[in-house]
Each structure stands twice: as structure tokens, then as C-alpha cells.
Symmetry: C2
Subunit: 243 residues, 2 copies
DNA sequence: TCAATAGTGTCTTTGAGACACTATCCG
DNA sequence: CGGATAGTGTCTCAAAGACACTATTGA
């Protein structure tokens, strides 16, 4: 913890407030979405281009300071919104990166979050699109990223791939109603391998997390699939971190 | 992250360095060990007693400042050593707690770690034992703990119970050689329910993480069990966090 | 009718758990 | 020998996966 437990009472509080302010604190947000790629849907990450040193012109995950009195998640949401113009329904703390040399200017720790954004909500503001902010396929980002962001990204990918296989997070990447094929596609894109439609259907139906809307998709050239929506019980929403 | 990406360039860096220093940073360490209890072995947590406000005389997890230029894990190790007099073979980042009001004095974030200490290495220095630092059964700590440490502890417990069921971390709580019954006991104590000795043996043997030493325990009143030691491959050591 | 996707039924394999059984030690 | 713990063999059951099959649409 943070407070001293006075045995070994080095005069740390004094020392600290006057001479050693300690590391500063920021947040970084890895923003995931499914975006259309050259061939097919791809798991993508939103990056912003830095326009000042250090790492000028390199791409980085959006982020920034945490203000005094501001919660960590609130700070992440704020930067998500101001830097990328997006709002996310799902935000989860990833890991805190604290290597003293991760920022050449000073010792700053970064509390990293990752966010899931549905394709529908993933439109970038015109003003920023392409020049200042862009979606990149998650396995094909312009390396190296600024700071230690390559490391942050690869950990986020690892975590998302793990999480998707035991928690109901994939829904966050889809619009409110979706077909089973679309849901399966999300899993396939994240896990990067095909899934058996039969068994996938059985498993998802058995989980009780989707309910049929009764409606069907119209206008396709084939048999129209049913539309489902997601309904998670409080337990299924439990993501793990403290309540 | 931490650096601004100059679009939306509010003059944050200036503001920050002169007026708003942002939250300060500390670490907290939840230290686990298996300790003998009234009836049997128990999963225990090391707590230290605070001897100054705030929360004077209440129990808390050991921890303290992160120094400028010091890595987070190094800070955790340092406080583990100076506050509790222990050394740990296993230290893993848990979560970062940042509620602005978690410390009544100022906005401080706590990067929480948890440590596993073998029973052999869990002896507290005489000077501290009982008065300043003590092992408590993990499900029976003196509530409320200082700050938000109840929340940190319950999350650490949740995480340890999860982790033990899919990763090879239990060995960290045992001496270098151990019997299968001892290893099983560790699992039973953490998971808080009995395990079938037969199936436990099969599963552990199949995992290939233990190798028989050929030696046996002597002096028991019954058939002497074999001693094993643990050998983890690099893959099995992978705990998840970034390499 | 055909191509293509939606959706069903069923077999096999695998791993977890239950549990009866044998082995070996001490006193 | 008897009590206790170490260690083995085998059955059952449930979930995961493979895959052949039927259903329904537009063109």
C-alpha cells in the first residue's frame, strides 16, 4: 500500500513531498473493434499519430494524464472520447506498466485499459480519420509503436483472446441484434481460427445468453438467418475485477 | 497513455507540472502463505499494524511509495522485505486501485501485487512478530482493514483461487521437495474443499510438472510417501503478464 | 433446379470424478 | 495382525468436436 507502516520509519513522506515526487500517472487505452479488411472482417486497433516529440510521427495508443481526484476508469473514458471521439460500452483494466525508462522524459507509469467498440459505433470523426487516427489490423500495426506500446498491445491481444474463450465479451463488438454467424465470425476473427458452426450454435444456445428476436434478416440471397439479441445475467457480466 | 497526442492539445503538461501534480503512486502487497492453524493448515495473509493516522492501530497490507526511477515490482519486493522481513519467490501484479478517496489524505493510486511465500520462508523476524506483523487466516482477518484493503484482499483471494486451478503456482507455497499429499493439501486449503487423492495424483503426474526424487519421508507411522520436486518448463512458468 | 447458407441429429473422443481395490509402512 | 496412509485400476458421465444430414431462401 501506499501509506507507511511506521516501523522502519524512514521519513519518507517528507522526503517525498519535497524532493522525490515519485512517478506520475497516466492511462493508455487499447481500443478494439471488428473492421472490414481487404478480404474479410478483421480484429482492429485504433491508433493515433503523435505530432510532437518524443516519438514524433509514430503511432500510439490514445491516452493521457490522470487528473487529481479523477478515477482511473473515468480518465480512460475521457481520453477515449477526446482523443478518438469514441464511446465504449466495455472498458477493463489490463495491467499497469511502470518501467522507469518507458518514457524518455520522466518516470511515468501507465495504467493500461482495453476497450471494445461495436462496429457501428466505431466511426471516427471526419476531422481525425486517417490523418490523426486510424484503425489498423491488430496483427499488422506500424512497428514500432511509440513508448512501450508494442508490449501493451501484445498483452492486450493475449488477454482478449483468453477472455473471449471463457467470458461473454464478444457481444460488445456487435450491434444490439445480430445473427449467430456474425457472433461466430467475431470469435473466429479474435481467435484466428475457424469454428464449427454446429457446435458453436449449440454452445451459445446452451449458455442462455442469447434470445431470438423472432425477426430475420431480409434481402440475402440465401436462407435468411434469425436475429438474436444478448441478455447477460449479472453473474455472466462479472468480469473478474473488484466490484 | 501518458503522453498527449497533441490533437485536443489542452496545455496539460504545463497545467500538470505547475498546478496539478496528479495522483501519487504506491504499491500494496498481499502476502500469502500456508500456516498451521488451530485445527489444520490454513491459507494465511500477512498483515502489519499501522501505528499512525490515518487508520491508526488498524491492520493493513504492507506497502509504500514507489520511488522515482524504481520499477513497480522492485518497489513491491522492497516493501515486502523492509516491512515484513520476507523474501518471495513469486510476485505477480494484481490490479491497480485508483479511487480518488481511497486514501483520506490525498489521491494515491495503489498498484497491488500478491506474493506467495513457502511455509519454510514465512518465519517473521522476532522483533516484529505478533505485535507489528502477523499471519491471519485469509478468511478471518480483523475487519475492517485500513484503506480499501478489504477490497484488495478479496480480489487477491479470488485471483489466487482462479489461478491455482489453471496455472502451476501452488509449488511456490511449498519447500523444494514435497509429497503429493502436501501438494494436494495446498490446493485443498486454497480452494477450500477436499480433492480426491486418486484423481489429483493422476492429474498432477500427467502434467509432467513434478519429478520423483526417489527419496521417501522417514519416521512416519505409516507407509512412507515419495518425495517429489517441481520442474516447470518455460511455458508452464508463463503467468500471463507481459514478458 | 442449383448454389449457398441456416439449422439438426448423432457418433466418437476426452477428461473429470467416483470408488473399489491393492501395497507398504509402524507398532 | 491391524490401522493408517500410499498408490492402482476401472467405471461412469458430461462436454467438445467431427461430420453427415435436412431446411429454406433467391436466382
Amino acid at each position: 500500500m501506499i501509506e507507511q507502516t511506521a516501523q522502519n520509519a524512514e521519513p519518507l513522506s517528507l522526503e517525498r513531498s519535497q524532493h522525490a515526487p515519485g512517478p506520475t500517472v497516466g492511462v493508455s487505452v487499447v481500443i478494439f473493434s471488428i473492421q472490414p479488411g481487404p478480404q474479410r472482417q478483421q480484429l482492429s486497433v485504433l491508433l493515433v499519430r503523435r505530432n510532437k516529440p518524443p516519438y514524433e510521427n509514430q503511432w500510439a495508443m490514445p491516452g493521457g494524464w490522470v487528473r487529481t481526484g479523477e478515477g482511473l476508469e473515468a480518465a480512460a473514458q475521457r481520453h477515449l472520447h477526446t482523443k478518438a471521439g469514441l464511446t465504449s460500452t466495455y472498458l477493463e483494466q489490463l495491467y499497469t506498466f511502470g518501467r522507469p525508462d518507458r518514457d524518455p522524459r520522466e518516470h511515468r507509469i501507465a495504467v493500461a485499459y482495453y476497450a471494445l467498440v461495436s462496429s457501428a459505433a466505431a466511426q471516427l470523426p471526419e476531422a481525425k480519420a486517417d490523418r490523426e487516427a486510424r484503425w489498423f489490423p491488430a496483427d499488422c500495426v506500424p512497428k514500432p509503436l511509440a513508448f512501450d506500446h508494442d508490449e501493451i498491445l501484445s498483452y492486450a491481444l493475449w488477454r482478449l483472446r483468453n477472455k473471449v474463450s471463457y467470458a461473454y465479451v464478444a457481444y460488445q463488438l456487435l450491434p444490439p441484434t445480430f445473427t449467430l454467424a456474425e457472433l461466430r465470425k467475431v470469435y473466429e476473427v479474435i481467435l484466428d481460427h475457424p469454428l464449427d458452426p454446429t457446435n458453436f450454435r449449440r454452445k451459445v444456445e446452451a449458455s442462455g445468453t442469447i434470445i431470438p428476436t423472432g425477426k430475420r434478416v431480409e434481402g440475402g440471397a440465401h436462407r435468411p438467418p434469425q436475429l438474436y439479441r444478448c441478455q447477460l445475467t449479472p453473474e455472466q457480466l462479472l468480469t473478474g475485477p473488484p466490484s
